[in-house]
Symmetry: C2
């Protein structure tokens, strides 16, 4: 058995969980409808290959097995104990497991942190202490159990209603009932499970342990997850990123809306982080995100059986028009593209198919088509260099037998030399169609009853292919000027010590901080008098912007505290006087007036960072102004952001065409913008005391013209 | 039997199709796997209550029935003939049906217009002629058949694999294979079909005939459609609008992406119209649009069984956290809102449920909850005046029996006095769960295996509720000034007669046209000389805009042909000279210079119309400038647009917050904008020769300040 060092501890610990030589069931009973009975039954019916020891002081025998009053009375060594006892007995039982030398636990008992009560939390803390003291690994508490379908093990230590068929999907779930759904889907649709782990409250074993454990499990070809939150995403990211390049990881993350996230928080009592952070995490790691448990299963089956797609160009082959159109709609809606065929492909199709057939994409072989038509059509499109993936639809008419067609699909796919993925939609529920679907699935062609499901599976194969091919993007080492702003931040912290004071840098500090990291900023001075202002103007050059900078004025435009386009001394003098009066009026004179060279003919953008409590620095790019504030058109990425990821962020916003140049306007300086994001990422990493930083606007002009930060807001930790 | 006048002919004609007293099957055979056998078999096995006459010159008896060499030899009257003969024999057979006095046909034979060949089209034209000559109604050609499950009729005149259970859903489909899918879903999920019609190439019977026929069919409670295109949407709209207020109509429209639409066009050979037009049609009629056949079925089942929801506020009751979160995510993603409970509801829940239960939305009754907990929770939330609809999730744990919980759900729903809809998600595939699901469905509670499907069903109940409640919006009668532009359009048509000339009005004509219909426009003059320009300036007032108006210059800003902000005579003189030179340079002096009073401090919007070949005038509103041209942020409605629908359009664009007033800006004059759209709708209706009209920009300021059209482009039909 291959072993790996898990990120959360030694892998041997997890072998005790998934490959134990003996299992004790604490709380085993024969009572109908009890969990204690179901777990024992699953172990027995599932034909577990090791020894099972029921433990229950009230029984002498349970289901024909000798029952022990305590785990300590078991004469043999025990690797795994399943704990099903009442919450008030659980800790004592677990302590006994520790003394017995048990190495792993499945804690089904509930009544811990998930209750949200002080007693529950206290009980969970004591559990953690016991586990640490004995070095035991544990799934749970409040979990449904673990399963390993490996023929040498056959462990079903869960109260699931069924033992799923063996197969290539490893599944970790934070929700027991959704785990059960997934196992039922596996049984129903015939793509099986390698291992299953319900992690419940996750006092110990988490996705962070399971992903690297499954990385080296040869039977596992895809890792599926139901996630409500990660305890430590920063520990998870490097592991997942490494694994996802070799083995696809698919996740459904519940709480994708604000309302769903609130429900998740009250359900698990955990800090859930912001959903945009999870999106950024999945993107970063190359994890395929789906939105439902059914999709999680469908997509996992495809990823386990088919190679990744190198690109988004899909050929559709169908024998019915309607499903072909729906498939095309679904593919395009998912961001894929109908492939355009090479002339040779069209010619080959025309030669092989009936004259009324459509030889363009979607290829319609017509209702009367049989095995030979499918064979010819699939071989042609699988050979086309412009085809990255194939979706084949078969709606069996009564005059066509499903089985030969299913065989032809399998043969054509096996014969293809270009290794492109293929998924099938077999649109019928008849027995013959059911057999065709089974034949396809068994031969490794994922098969779905509706074109939309097949399209989603293909989209996942494309996402995984793209994610794998996505180059690493190590951020370049950025050296700041001088101390990179450390001294000015220290000084600001000292100054902002008053309680209740907003812990915000002033404009001069903000501009100096970003400038120290090489982010361009509009030349700015802070003259103390009108005299100095006139001197500064001569240095800065016209036109100028004058604006208030005061801790008492949060939104200076609300008080008309900005004067733009100052073209001469006269205008400057009038603006200076007006702003001086505003400063008295709104801020009792606290603050000063900034004079800035105006950056003209540039697009407004926003570069920002906000510290996610779980994920760390989350970088933001928006196309600026109303696009961000009113339309919410922004892109997020986790720190660190290298130049490739920075460019992805910039191109991802809806308003990207405005930056790329439209209506005859020249494009903005993309290289400068990308560089500024990379530098911002380095800046926030160097200063963890910054909880929020917003350069708004960052004005970006076409290359060769002045661009830069005009306003910078920096908030420090309390 | 109640009858109605169908929009496409007499309803009696459709009774011959769905309620015939005798059916002839032309092309009946006993050969395994032939359509001729399947149709006959379905009529017999489905226990058709009338007489069946096989017709086939090669047989004397088919399936124990006497077989006739020709329909003319049948001694009894025949209402319906199913035509399955080869395409080269079809027209002769149909002619014989006409002579026999057959009143309706189901034409399964293919080889007509759908082939796209001249012969196919010719055959279809001759078919049309024969039908007209004998006054026969027909479904098809190239169709799968018709079904009526009415106990007195029991007609399955189709080659579907099965006869669906009787039920409340009437279904019309343009695709036979998707029709088959729908029938299989009905059989599988237990919500049945009232009538089914596969319309194939639709030479005669279309949705336009079926919708009003089903309006008066008491067994039909919901009408479901699979649509690729409508032949005559303008005839369909008033019918569908009337019916949808009483009976829900659900549609899946294939070809929602441009690529899918192209596939649809090549499949049916029909002119499909633009997808935005279909969206506008469904919105206009109150038809619920879905995106897949599975959803079409799920949603129809809910609409058939549950009352519409008066609003979007949903309560979720669950016994498992994960599914509750996924349900909340799905609801919010579909535009619904989690209901906030009244304090009395929360108190009642707290009193009734276990102490660890969550009494806020989603209500988590916890895994151990039984019938009593569900009963109490559902009664509380169904009573809450802030709850418009309820989604109940039950993930049966092994220790809880599904049946009593299913009973409790039914009882609580029946006891509720407020008539709010309820849908259930029963997350398990066990036999006991299956029985629970059956009990729920039979009691009228639509039940789904996954929370996302239940959420979609609820969203449809909300959409139908909202659509029903949507007030009629008759456009007010608008009287234009003078002749409403008829004379100027006639003059322009005369002027633009040269072949190859773009048939565009000039700016003066465009502004005069919209002004005649009371749409405000910036005061504009067209001085012939600088002298006249200076006089015009004095009349118009400063600041002014000067711009080129020439048929040779399509985009005047490309040649810098607009001068804005002219503040005095000097600036006007310089602009006049510069524009005069441009006119010589780019247009050989053709055209003139327009002088316009500048509208300041206003938002750019676009009002437009484009003539859809199928749907007629399609009105457009966009928030203007880059939002329309780069971001595609526009709303469409079909003519006529009344004030309510105009306001919906304006509020529908993403940039609406900018118009409503944001960042301290005052809102624009919404009443004026709404009125301008209504007037534009009247204008285009009065002048069908206009194929395109764009007021871009229409500048709209806060109420009380000048607003109006600044530029108008009008293209006439060729």
């Amino acid at each position: 058995m291959e072993r790996t060092a898990a990120c959360g501890g030694d892998a041997g610990g997890l072998d005790a969980l998934f490959r134990p030589r003996a299992v004790a069931v604490l709380g085993a009973t024969g009572r109908q409808g009890s969990i204690g009975r179901e777990v024992l039954r699953n172990l027995m019916v599932g034909e577990y290959q090791g020894k099972v020891f029921p433990v229950n002081p009230s029984h002498d025998v349970v289901m024909a097995l000798k029952c022990y009053p305590s785990v300590l009375e078991i004469p043999d060594p025990v690797d795994l104990a399943v704990v099903i006892v009442r919450k008030d007995l659980a800790l004592e039982a677990i302590e006994a497991c520790g003394r017995k030398g048990v190495r792993a636990l499945v804690i089904v008992s509930a009544g811990f942190g998930e209750t949200g009560t002080p007693e529950g939390r206290e009980r969970e803390a004591r559990l953690r202490e016991i586990l640490g003291r004995y070095g035991m690994r544990a799934a749970g508490p409040n979990c449904m159990g673990v399963i390993n379908t490996e023929p040498e093990v056959r462990l079903n230590a869960s109260f699931a209603r069924l033992t799923p068929p063996a197969g290539p999907i490893a599944f970790v779930t934070q929700s027991g009932s959704l785990g059960e759904s997934m196992l039922e889907l596996a049984a129903e649709r015939g793509a099986g499970i390698s291992m299953f782990c319900s992690i419940g409250n996750r006092v110990d074993v988490d996705a962070c342990d399971l992903v690297p454990y499954w990385e080296h499990d040869a039977r596992t070809r895809v890792i599926a997850m139901y996630v409500e939150s990660f305890l430590d995403p920063r520990r998870f990211i490097p592991v997942a990123r490494r694994v996802a390049r070799r083995k696809p990881i698919v996740a459904v993350k519940a709480g994708r809306t604000a309302q769903g996230a609130r429900a998740a928080q009250s359900h698990t009592g955990a800090l859930v982080g912001r959903d945009v952070s999870y999106d950024a995490l999945f993107e970063e790691c190359g994890i395929v995100r789906v939105t439902s448990v059914a999709e999680l299963f469908d997509v996992s089956a495809a990823l386990a059986q088919q190679p990744p797609a190198p690109g988004p160009r899909v050929a559709v082959v169908t024998n019915a028009g309607g499903p072909g159109i729906l498939a095309t709609d679904a593919l395009v809606g998912l961001g894929l593209a109908p492939a355009a065929f090479a002339p040779a492909t069209t010619a080959a199709l025309r030669a092989a198919l009936s004259p009324d057939a459509s030889v363009h994409n979607p290829v319609d072989v017509l209702a009367a088509a049989g095995a030979a038509d499918y064979d010819a059509a699939l071989r042609s499109v699988l050979d086309d260099p412009g085809v990255d993936a194939v979706l084949v639809v078969f709606a069996p008419p009564i005059m066509v037998d499903a089985d030969p067609v299913a065989r032809a699909i399998v043969e054509a796919w096996r014969a293809a030399v270009r290794g492109r993925p293929l998924v099938a939609c077999l649109m019928a529920r008849s027995r013959s169609a059911g057999e065709g679907a089974r034949r396809l699935r068994e031969a490794g062609v994922p098969t779905y009853p509706f074109p939309e499901e097949a399209a989603k599976a293909l989209a996942a194969l494309v996402a995984h292919g793209t994610g794998r091919a996505r180059p690493e993007d190590p951020p370049p080492e950025i050296r700041p000027a001088g101390d990179g702003g450390s001294a000015l931040l220290a000084a600001a912290r000292a100054r902002l010590r008053a309680p209740g004071e907003p812990r915000m840098l002033d404009l001069a500090e903000g501009l100096a901080l970003v400038a120290a990291w090489g982010i361009p900023a509009a030349p700015t001075e802070f003259p103390a008098s009108l005299d100095e202002a006139l001197d500064a103007a001569a240095r800065l050059g016209w036109p100028l912007v004058a604006k208030l900078d005061s801790p008492a004025i949060v939104h200076r435009s609300d008080v008309h505290g900005v004067a733009t386009g100052l073209a001469d001394e006269g205008q400057l003098v009038r603006a200076w006087r007006r702003l001086g009066e505003l400063l008295q009026q709104h801020a009792d004179g606290r603050g000063r007036i900034a004079l800035q060279r105006q950056i003209g003919d540039a697009r407004e953008t926003i570069l920002g960072m906000s510290l996610d409590p779980l994920f760390g620095p989350l970088l933001l790019f928006g196309s600026g102004g109303i696009h961000v504030e009113v339309l919410g058109d922004v892109a997020f990425r986790l720190h660190p952001v290298g130049p490739r990821h920075a460019e992805e962020m910039i191109r991802q916003v809806r308003a990207w065409p405005l930056l790329a140049g439209s209506r005859g306007e020249p494009p903005v300086d993309l290289a400068l913008l990308r560089d500024a994001l990379v530098r911002l990422s380095a800046l926030v990493a160097a200063h963890p005391e910054i909880v929020e930083l917003e350069i708004n606007p960052f004005l970006v002009a076409p290359a060769g013209r002045p661009s830069g930060a005009v306003d910078v807001r920096v908030r420090l930790t309390d």
